[in-house]
Symmetry: C2
Subunit: 458 residues, 2 copies
């Protein structure tokens, strides 16, 4: 309901392609999701995704946590061994994902466990362990039951992996830990074919992640598959810049996990022209990756532990995009804002307070978002420009604070409470300083979050 | 219960002087705490503290929030007008504190309100408005009832302020909003007298603060009074360095408020030698300020909204003190660690994960803690050095993780649960990298925090 008088009601224009929440399998991949017996509950805890034609270009974004888990360390080493520069891209023919144990803080024994799993996958598939990428999620400090995982590998390879959408859906189910929903997003696009004409490419991502989520590089587990064509370095660049405006803007609880990883694999099986050389192909692949990442991030925030809604903060009028993203991230990360949204309280003072604390992201994230190394270094962790006298805030479509008009806008708290009773609560901020825009995704802080994280070891 | 085998049980040696939780009034000041009628509850909401001999050296640490409240802006301007460089010290003869309304995000009208209150204080006391410092706390975005506050000023000045400990205690009570306890701390020390011999100095702080507390400069409201002798610049330097290792290491909920302020006023009425020139006097005053600040920070964390205990994280073996403080702060700021402590779950994996994310503080905080401007700029917001293979973690005296011995230490979770059932839960981390030490203070995340912050506008 935007009006000429109140641009705060207008959402940020969205130029991204439409997303379907489906596990559409891109050409050139097969998958399986099943139960290996890691989880005591007996729920699915094992997924294997393979590039059916052998190693394909792969790129990754990993956690910034110094306590990186064994699967993160091994995947990083494998990409370094198969790729060039930067170290986070190379070639891979399989992604193995286990849930129930994070294999983090398990020392040398944990590293050996993960390596043994890679060897088992390579032996069963007939490839090299360095072409296996690893994902794991679950309790920190517990060992993976290697024998059970290796047995599952042999079993699923014997039974045969499937090329179907359903199989990729099963893989998505197996990624889940405390997730209440299965997270998937898919985009189709037309791009120039390698041999002329146009071809359809598919970009499909699956993901998990509901707790220990916070912007520091990647923020949970995800695998994005595409049959588009790109070199490892190009795939990495497109993935990293998509993550900078989506997953890096997602926070559930301010904790960056030890296992956060996003992998993207490009089979090239669509016959598309290479994104390395064809600008139309590059642009379409980049947009599709961003759209998939953004939708997965929204699904992850909505399913945050204990969450009852998605909180989206969209910021316009910032001095630049980095500032806009910083302010959006500060707002959705604020415990007090999150608790207020839970209570459906249009407490704009807490939003103003959070915005006033915003710090621009770290240099690595700024570079990924397109800043030069010098600019990124100069801006990193600096306060975002915020002027109370020029800022305006709207909550769920209700103008709450209008700096240029003197401050408090006399919001109708009852009407705002009604409007906040929704699946998505949109907080809009116009900073009145420039043309920078950005958004971030979070969720309410509820008693259920506390209960879930104090009563059980997760 | 430290043992030679397990130094993790040993707390960081504490060289600070003993603290009494009393409102001992230093010589040269008088105070009053009463009800002005700002709070609808009718509870005390007004405090006035005066330097009885006229303006005395004063120093401040203010919030880093860009949405700084009217009392912060006015106090900053007054110190700038009465002091020199840096702008956060000067001369003051009165501190007026109101609670119930923060007078934040109230625009020009809010600034005018606060100025009118300063004029009322100066008129009643017979001084200048620029010598009045302002504190306010409460709901953001509501106006202060200036007439009620001005009437209270006239009434208390007519009735007379008292030099007594009880009067300072009443002022401490009036600072409270959702605080469940009155926070005060006092240290006595012997220092060289200005005219030879030794004299006793008193440093007493009162404080409030239970929510919207996070390290960014100061982190709540506090007034520290002393009858020691120091110039504004020296007082500021000692206050800032004390805050860097105490209040800057305190987090309740990750939100830095719009009103955070600490004032220190030094009457010189003890007859002590000046801390500007006498190293013994300087050292004693610095230690006393740090001891008072540390104890107030601990009281504030213990009384965090919904908190059931104090969480202290002490870090040794860091590459340097800045890293140690960063790791300690990351641990006590983690929602997952806070929820685990609430559940008395010795979940060391979450502690390891939080430690692995630690980022060193901003440049201004590092400078306050003693780093050179160049070193501070180079270190600011950089990851703290953490090596899982060298790190050890103990929770409430129980060794949980021992990197050098291979990782998980086989903690007895039942015994640890018993030990965590205490007023203070001590998390000890030795990083095994160097000689840096640091500590931080926080509190459990509970359902009561969520309830308190979602059901009511605060």
């Amino acid at each position: 309901m935007p009006t000429a008088d109140n641009p705060l009601l207008a959402p940020i224009a969205d130029a991204l392609p439409p997303v379907e929440r489906a596990s559409r399998m891109p050409a050139g991949f097969a998958a399986v999701g099943t139960t290996a017996g890691i989880k005591v509950s007996g729920r699915p805890d094992f997924a294997l995704i393979v590039a059916t034609g052998g190693p394909v270009p792969a790129a990754a974004v990993f956690t910034a946590n110094r306590f990186a888990a064994a699967p993160v360390r091994l995947s990083r080493a494998n990409l370094r061994a198969t790729g060039g520069t930067p170290a986070t891209c190379g070639y891979a023919s399989a992604v193995i994902a286990t849930s129930g144990s994070a294999n983090a803080a398990t020392g040398d024994a944990g590293d050996a466990d993960q390596a043994a799993i890679g060897v088992a996958v390579a032996a069963a598939m007939g490839g090299e362990p360095i072409h296996v990428l690893h994902l794991s999620t679950g309790v920190i400090g517990t060992r993976l039951p290697v024998n059970k995982v290796a047995a599952a590998v042999r079993r699923v390879v014997d039974e045969g992996l499937e090329y179907t959408d359903l199989a990729l859906g099963h893989a998505a189910v197996a990624l889940r830990t405390t997730d209440s929903t299965t997270k998937m997003a898919s985009v189709k696009a037309e791009v120039p074919g390698a041999d002329g004409g146009t071809v359809a490419i598919t970009v499909t991502g699956i993901a998990k992640g509901v707790g220990m989520i916070h912007p520091r590089m990647a923020t949970m587990l995800s695998v994005v598959l595409t049959d588009a064509t790109a070199s490892p370095a190009t795939l990495r660049e497109l993935l990293r810049s998509a993550a900078a405006v989506t997953w890096d803007q997602l926070s559930v609880d301010g904790d960056t996990s030890t296992n956060d990883t996003v992998f993207a694999l490009a089979s090239g099986a669509s016959g598309a022209a290479s994104a390395d050389h064809d600008t139309a192909a590059r642009s379409a692949l980049g947009s599709a990756l961003e759209a998939v990442a953004r939708d997965l991030a929204r699904q992850q925030a909505r399913d945050g532990e204990g969450a009852t809604a998605l909180i989206t903060c969209q910021v316009t009028g910032a001095a630049d995009d980095a500032d806009a993203r910083a302010v959006a991230r500060a707002v959705i990360s604020s415990s007090l804002v999150k608790a207020a949204v839970h209570g459906k309280d249009a407490n704009w003072g807490r939003i103003a307070g959070a915005a006033g604390n915003a710090l621009v992201a770290e240099a690595a994230v700024l570079e990924a978002a397109g800043l030069s190394p010098a600019d990124a270094a100069a801006r990193a962790c600096q306060p975002a420009a915020v002027d109370p006298a020029r800022m305006r805030i709207a909550i769920a479509g209700h103008l709450a604070y209008d700096g240029p008009a003197g401050g408090p806008a006399g919001i109708d708290k009852g009407a705002a409470r009604e409007a906040m009773n929704a699946e998505e609560v949109l907080i809009r901020i116009d900073l009145g300083l420039g043309h920078g825009t950005g958004e971030a995704f979070g969720c309410p802080l509820t008693e259920a979050y506390v209960k879930e994280n104090s009563e059980y070891t997760t």
